[in-house]
């Protein structure tokens, strides 16, 4: 099982290296297939380590060290991978969904000018993400964390001639860097107290620290998680990140990268259990995010942005689960979410690809008539997202609500937020569906639908969509709380559900009845408003304005951070740079010139004067040395 983990980690990096070294000597197609193969090899490695661990028993996790990376005094960090239930589960999700999405990219990016660069980036991203989930200590975790931010930056800004893409990439990078910084600070505190970043030592140390210190550490880690997972208040980068190519949105901004925060909270759960208040803060942020994102998604007109807000909202659910201590429920939702959200993005990508790169849902009306298979795939993804019984989301979302319901009064508050969120999910998802897919194709769709890849898309795009459709439909059957819980058992040795969050059968029953009912109610309302157009969209100009401005977060950050920085820069330019720095350049030059002209006369060109000066100088120095001594 250990070799499997190393293969899983290094295969995508080898892919990146081959594509970069190959450069223009290999064709675009070769680059694409090298990338795809490398990620599939990684998936094979993940399977190997998963089944190896399965055979050994899930509580026999191991850490395998390759070499000592750095050693300073008593502090030591190895390059090591951890193979335990949590990491193998994440490896399977990241490399499995990643492989499907890279395969999809082969068709999607076909004909792009810089295909090779794209595949080098995306395999590098898969490597970074695997590094993050497999890291055997927290220093490597931070390395993976940073590399994921970097590759996300590269991929969002992939179409670098587009100004908005570059701006979005910078925004994502800065927000993520903020999270990296708070995380690094938390690690510094841990090093100061335990002189180690091994998981086991850190967990043991956390138990002995004062409450304030543990809270600070947990808060710093939470900062990293919130930034990477696009939760309030560091969420504004995710919708803008939709500037990247659609497979990137599917891979990074739905299936893998943004779930890193959930993974972090589950991986470091002993620390968060010692800092219960911070964990609850995570759950509260999740609850706020899921409501806010659900509301904003109602007024978005860009097909990818609607799905992006839905991602934020679903990750809010996961935060709500891991915040109260229901780690396996959060991880299970992470898995099913990876299936159906990747599916939704890929079907959206099929539509965008077929209809001349158009993303405005008002222009895309009636696409379902020209792309029937895409329509069905999207519908299944949407049903899974809303959590309609029998589809994946039903099995994973309702236990989260049940776990919250069990946990004190605040849990009940989260539960209510979650239920409202379910209704909103049904509403915005099917608003999208009813606007885009059913009905007569609009003139725009008729005119721009082109078929150079067949009716719906290239085969490399349709195969992953098909696989994910199946997974979105039946992927949730793997666990049905409280009757059949293999994932909870699998994870119990590293991330056991806390007693506070262990739902009773009653909690499960209530949640499993109310949540789907509200979801379906949302679907029905969406059908009445946008499907049948029986009732008009309520006219609330003030609310609509707030939602269209996304609760004014961007404007707020502009006022607090951007504008003061610009003002300060202007003041320094006017009062310091222009009068001092710029003019002093000439003065220094003129001074040097004058000195040069003055000393020029010493240079006579006569050898004997030089020798004399040299001899006299040496004598003077010798005398000085003798006298001083």
């Amino acid at each position: 099982m250990i070799p499997g983990a190393w293969i899983c980690l290094t295969a995508p990096l080898v892919g990146t290296a081959l594509i970069l070294l190959g450069g223009t000597r290999i064709s675009r197609g070769t680059a694409a297939w090298v990338g795809t193969t490398s990620v599939f090899v990684a998936f094979a490695g993940a399977l190997w380590s998963f089944f190896g661990l399965w055979a050994h028993g899930s509580d026999n996790g191991q850490i395998s060290s390759a070499w000592t990376w750095l050693q300073v005094g008593g502090f030591k960090a190895d390059v090591s991978v951890i193979v335990d239930p949590l990491s193998t589960m994440m490896m399977l999700i990241v490399s499995g969904v990643g492989a499907l999405i890279v395969l999809y990219s082969v068709g999607y990016m076909d004909g792009d000018d810089e295909e090779r660069r794209y595949f080098a980036y995306i395999t590098f991203f898969v490597f970074s993400m695997l590094m993050l989930v497999e890291s055997g200590n927290m220093l490597l975790l931070l390395v993976g964390w940073g590399l994921v931010g970097l590759s996300s930056y590269l991929l969002i800004g992939f179409w670098h001639e587009r100004e908005s893409a570059v701006a979005a990439a910078k925004k994502a990078f800065i927000m993520n860097a903020f999270g990296d910084a708070t995380m690094a600070l938390a690690l510094f505190v841990l090093i100061a107290h335990s002189n180690s970043l091994e998981y086991s030592t850190a967990f043991a140390t956390a138990g002995h620290l004062s409450q304030t210190t543990v809270d600070l550490v947990a808060l710093g880690l939470l900062g990293g998680a919130v930034a990477k997972s696009a939760q309030v208040p560091l969420h504004t980068w995710l919708p803008d990140a939709m500037e990247g190519p659609t497979p990137v949105s599917a891979l990074i901004h739905a299936a893998t990268m943004v779930t890193a925060g959930v993974y972090l909270l589950a991986r470091l759960n002993p620390i968060f259990q010692d800092a219960k208040n911070v964990a609850l803060l995570a759950a509260a942020l999740g609850a706020i995010t899921l409501l806010m994102a659900g509301l904003i998604a109602l007024v978005q007109t860009d097909i990818k942005r609607v799905i992006a807000y839905s991602t934020m909202s679903q990750i809010g659910y996961m935060f709500m689960a891991v915040g109260v201590g229901a780690y396996s429920n959060g991880m299970f939702h992470l898995m099913t979410h990876a299936f159906f959200k990747a599916l939704l993005f890929m079907t959206a990508g099929l539509v965008i690809h077929a209809i001349s790169d158009e993303q405005d849902i008002r222009k895309l009306r009636g696409v379902g008539a020209v792309m029937p298979w895409t329509r069905w795939a999207f519908l299944i993804g949407a049903l899974a997202l809303v959590g309609v019984p029998a589809f994946a989301g039903f099995f994973s979302k309702d236990p989260i609500l049940a776990a919250d319901l069990h946990d004190h009064w605040y849990g009940v508050t989260f539960w209510i937020c979650g239920l409202i969120g379910t209704f909103l999910t049904g509403l915005y998802t099917f608003r999208l569906y009813f606007i885009v897919f059913p009905g007569e194709p609009s003139a725009f769709v008729r005119e721009h639908h082109h078929r150079h890849h067949g009716r719906e898309g290239a085969l490399t795009m349709l195969v992953p969509v098909g696989v994910l459709t199946v997974l979105a439909a039946i992927g949730g059957w793997i666990q049905f709380q409280p009757f059949w819980e293999p994932i909870t058992h699998w994870l119990s040795s590293v991330a056991a559900t806390t007693p506070d969050a262990t739902a009773t059968n009653w909690d499960d029953l209530v949640s499993s009845l109310i949540a789907p009912a509200l979801g379906i109610a949302g679907i029905v309302v969406a059908w009445l408003i946008w499907g049948k157009e029986r009732i008009a969209v309520p006219k609330l100009p003030a609310v609509q304005r707030v939602l269209e401005h996304k609760f004014y977060f961007d404007e707020l950050y502009d006022e607090i951070f951007y504008k003061p920085a610009v003002a300060a820069a202007n003041i320094f330019r006017r009062d310091f740079e222009e009068p001092v720095v710029i003019t002093s350049g000439n003065d220094i030059g003129e001074g040097a010139l004058e000195v040069g002209q003055a000393t020029q006369r010493i240079q006579t060109g006569l050898l004997r004067t030089y020798v004399l000066a040299f001899g006299v100088g040496t004598a003077v120095i010798a005398v000085i040395l003798l006298v001083v001594r």
């Binding site: 020029q600 006369r601 010493i602 240079q603 006579t604 060109g605 006569l606 050898l607 004997r608 020798v611 004399l612 001899g615």
Partner: protein, 102 residues
């Protein structure tokens, strides 16, 4: 074996060095200047070896050996320059060769 004291050697070295330095300062023929330089170097070598003997350490001798190697190289370059200057029919006079002045 008792020889003369180290002071005698140093005196001889200083004399050689002074002779060389005087030659460098007053002579204008580059060949003679080079010759005087060699005398200076050998004065220095003599002092090094005298000290080496005096303090019973090999460092000074090794240093003197490397000075000889450097001196040989320096003479090669210097003579090469003298020949090159002569070939261009320029007077062999160090005072006349002053084009590098500021």
């Amino acid at each position: 074996m008792e020889g003369p004291g180290v002071v005698w050697y140093l005196g001889l070295a200083a004399f050689l060095f002074g002779t060389g330095a005087f030659g460098v300062l007053v002579r204008r023929n580059p060949l003679i200047v080079l010759l005087s330089l060699e005398i200076m170097l050998n004065g220095a070598n003599l002092a090094l070896i005298a000290f080496a003997r005096h303090s019973a350490s090999a460092a000074g001798q090794i240093f003197a050996l490397s000075v000889m190697a450097v001196a040989a190289a320096e003479v090669c370059v210097g003579l090469g320059l003298v020949v090159a200057i002569h070939r261009r029919k320029i007077a062999l006079d160090v005072d006349a060769l002053s084009e590098l002045r500021g």
